[in-house]
């Protein structure tokens, strides 16, 4: 939760920044700041979710520590962002998870998921047909229930975020410029537009500018989307056309899943490596587990998925399937209580930004 001290610190930082404004052209945080003269809790959480934590403004700041004003925007935004995850979390008691979310916790949860799925294993015969190991209905049932819960939890979180920022997501309008706010927000989110402010790259892990954080994020995000698309196409094949799995290596679900899986491996590993090299000045050490557990879960899901695909004809397939499904289920369950939410709350912040900056 956003403590009074952290709010006061954020307000101090924004007050100094607002009187200086040298960083105005770096990113929307400063543009949004300039249209405000005071910074209430909702404003701070909004600004925090606009921040990419790139560090440009810290290195450029004449008031950065050890200056007595001690201005460190990336750090205070990072801490406030974590507070926003807790504020918007549903159900509320789960907000504690954001500070206890580590790689170990996620692994334990995934193993527990494997144990839950264990009794449903029907057959250890192979032949590449997953549904003969875990029946289709079981998969649909388990993932349907978990999926519905996850979507509900995330939707409530987004609703809370929008309310706290003070933006209406569904206001009807005849004004074409205002109607375009969705498009602008989506474009900014999908392209990570503000991570290459002014057409050039931003700093990310240290004072040098590089495009890698953006590219690794793209790999992760689009890899995730492709994997999701793979599963969706497979479901359509199964339900609509009645084509049973397994599908050929050249089929759409396998191709999508393979490309996505590679992205989902390269991206998280890259992000993790960069995070380890990050300038400690601008990161919040208490969020290491939060960040690392999410990328770890993504890459483990990807690795086990690719292994499963490569060895689906081998006798080890049932074990791999159980392991993979356990990780996927673990990943799903941790989505509303882990770093995944940053994308949604940022998206909401971009919608607010495109609404107010038109």
């Amino acid at each position: 939760m956003l403590s009074r001290e952290l709010l006061a610190q954020g307000q101090h930082v924004m007050t100094v920044c607002n009187a200086c404004r040298y960083c105005e052209a770096y990113c929307p945080v400063f543009q949004a700041m300039e249209s405000r003269t005071s910074f209430a809790k909702g404003d701070m959480l909004y600004l925090a979710n606009l921040c990419h934590n790139c560090g440009e403004c810290l290195y450029a700041c004449q008031y950065a520590p050890p200056h007595e004003f001690g201005i460190n925007v990336p750090r205070v935004m990072s801490e406030s962002r974590l507070a926003s995850y807790e504020e918007y979390c549903w159900p509320g008691f789960m907000s504690a998870a954001f500070r206890r979310n580590g790689v170990l916790a996620s692994l334990v949860l995934s193993v527990a998921c494997m144990l839950v799925l264990w009794p449903f294993v029907q057959s250890t015969s192979t032949g590449g047909n997953f549904y003969r190991v875990v029946p289709h209905d079981v998969m649909v049932g388990v993932f349907g229930i978990v999926g519905a819960f996850v979507v509900l939890a995330l939707a409530i979180g987004v609703r809370r975020a929008l309310r706290s920022y003070g933006v209406s997501a569904f206001r009807r309008t005849d004004n074409p410029v205002e109607a375009g706010r969705y498009g602008r927000a989506l474009r900014d989110a999908l392209s990570l537009r503000h991570l290459h402010g002014n057409g050039a790259d931003c700093t990310s892990d240290n004072e040098q500018r590089s495009p890698w954080r953006r590219w690794f994020h793209h790999c992760t995000f689009y890899g995730f989307l492709l994997c999701f698309a793979s599963t969706s196409v497979a479901a359509i094949y199964h339900v609509v056309f009645g084509w049973p799995a397994p599908y050929a290596y050249s089929s759409a679900p396998v191709v999508l899943g393979t490309i996505g899986g590679v992205g989902l491996l390269v991206g998280p590993v890259g992000l993790l490596t960069m995070r380890r090299r990050r300038d400690p000045a601008m990161t919040d050490p208490s969020q290491r587990g939060l960040d690392e557990s999410f990328v770890a879960m993504l890459s483990v899901t990807s690795v086990t998925g690719l292994l499963l695909l490569g060895m689906r004809e081998r006798p080890i397939m049932p074990v791999l399937l159980l392991v993979h499904l356990g990780f996927v289920l673990g990943l799903f369950l941790t989505l509303p209580y882990g770093k995944f939410v940053h994308g949604l709350y940022r998206m909401a912040a971009l919608l607010k930004f495109s609404t107010e900056s038109q």
Partner: protein, 458 residues
């Protein structure tokens, strides 16, 4: 080393990069720790640049004649015209030169649109530019010493031999074939300010770096270098009295003077608050406050002025009545009430417009307020305390067109060149125009770098 550069601000880095590119080995001696490197340049944000047609950053044209006219106007003619012309001419390619070293530029910040024809802005401000220069220096193999204060200069027959530098408490002598003096003025030397201004100097606030102690300037004057510029003058603006003693920078400025009245310690007005727009107003109020008893003044506004000026970093002192405001400010309440009442009575009806010199003025007051005069009658009332904030000093070293320091016999030293604030008095004898300090530093930094390298490598 071929070239020693004393001072790691804009001028020093421009000189170091240029000398290095000209083939000289270069060492930069910076007295600040790495975190505070860059002198006053870390607080700057733009550079004035002439251009005959629109560029990707600047609109219209800003010709050499117009630039020179502006310089002549603000300095009242106290400038060396040949040097000023050189600054103006060379300012044209400063933006592309900055970019060639990785410096990033942008059009004017919001709220500074009046500079969109004349000044290019540094993306992220002057510290970001200094970071780019230091990174470029590192790539090119320029050596940089931090926490290295100059203690002495060894000269022989007007030629530089070596500089003695204190690093980690040890004194080290660094010889070089040429030296670039780029160590700024003396505005953060409180003793020196006191020598010039007496006890009043104790109430001055230094807006920039605490490292401009004038040590190199003093050493050179003692070695018989010719001075330039008025030794008693400094550029100063009115800033929030609650600013830190040093390094408060841009955020301590206050621009609500024109929206209300300004009173001194005795709760009396002392100057026309509505005389002129920002640039002129900005330039004169520091000195006006410095001339008041105790070097303190208070800008008083009412609720009507809210939101009409750049937010200040310090909160206003707020009270529901003028009397209570006076108590909070430790001003004589009766006197402040009398001043406000007299002011309110003298305000003539008009159409308030802060964007133009409007027709809201007072009649029958001493001093009058000639524009933007509105009665102070809507609570809550706000006040900001003001003190003089010293930006830079004018005293410097006289140089020739090749940046060589002139000695008392009128001859230039062959291997001592100067750049930046330490010689800005040649071009800026008084006054100031936005961004010209960085232009002088960049232009003469480059000249000094070329000259030093030429002497050292030849």
């Amino acid at each position: 080393m071929d070239v020693a550069v004393l001072g790691g601000g804009n001028a020093g880095l421009c000189a170091a990069l240029t000398a290095r590119q000209s083939g000289a080995s270069v060492i930069v001696i910076e007295c600040a720790p790495k975190e505070f490197r860059g002198g006053n340049s870390r607080h700057t944000r733009n550079l004035r640049s002439m251009h005959n047609r629109p560029t990707d950053l600047l609109v219209d044209a800003y010709t050499d004649d117009e630039f020179l006219t502006d310089l002549t106007r603000v300095t009242g003619g106290r400038l060396d015209e040949a040097l000023a012309r050189r600054v103006v001419r060379d300012s044209a390619d400063c933006p592309s030169w900055i970019r060639s070293f990785g410096g990033r530029l942008q059009p004017p910040l919001k709220g500074t649109l009046h500079l969109d024809r004349t000044n290019v802005f540094f993306l992220g401000g002057g510290k970001a530019l200094m970071n780019s220069y230091y990174a470029a220096a590192e790539r090119l193999g320029v050596r940089v010493l931090y926490n290295a204060g100059v203690e002495g200069l060894e000269l022989q027959d007007g030629l530089f031999k070596s500089v003695s530098v204190k690093i980690d408490g040890r004194l080290e002598s660094i010889p070089a074939r040429a030296v670039v003096l780029a160590a700024g003025g003396f505005e953060s030397n409180l003793d020196w300010l006191r020598d010039v201004w007496g006890a009043a100097a104790d109430n001055f606030i230094v807006r920039g770096t605490p490292y401009n102690t004038g040590k190199v300037l003093r050493l050179m004057l003692d070695h018989g270098a010719q001075p330039v510029g008025d030794p008693t003058q400094f550029h100063c603006v009115a800033i929030d009295a609650r600013a830190p003693k040093f390094d408060g920078g841009i955020v301590t400025r206050l621009d609500c003077v024109s929206l209300g009245i300004v009173v001194n310690r005795d709760a009396k007005r002392f100057y026309d608050e509505g005389e002129d727009f920002w640039p002129k107003r900005y330039a004169i109020w520091g000195r006006l406050v410095a001339q008041q008893p105790g070097q303190i003044a208070y800008s008083v506004i009412d609720a009507k002025a809210r939101g009409l000026f750049m937010p200040s970093v310090f909160p206003p002192i707020e009270a529901p009545s003028i009397r209570e405001l006076a108590t909070l400010l430790s001003l004589p309440p009766d006197a402040l009430e009398r001043t406000v009442t007299a002011f309110n009575r003298a305000v003539r009806p008009g159409h308030f417009d802060h964007a133009v010199l409007d027709d809201c003025y007072t009649g029958g007051l001493i001093p009058e307020k000639s524009h933007w005069a509105r009665t102070l009658d809507t609570p809550p009332f706000w006040a900001y305390p003001l003190r003089p904030g010293v930006t830079f000093t004018y005293l410097g070293l006289r140089v020739d067109e090749r940046a060589r320091v002139l000695m008392m016999d009128g001859r230039p030293s062959e291997n001592i060149v100067a750049a930046g604030e330490i010689m800005a008095g040649n071009i800026l004898g008084q006054g100031y125009v936005a961004g010209v300090g960085m232009t002088i530093g960049t232009v003469f930094g480059r000249i000094a770098g070329v000259e030093a390298a030429r002497h050292a490598v030849a």
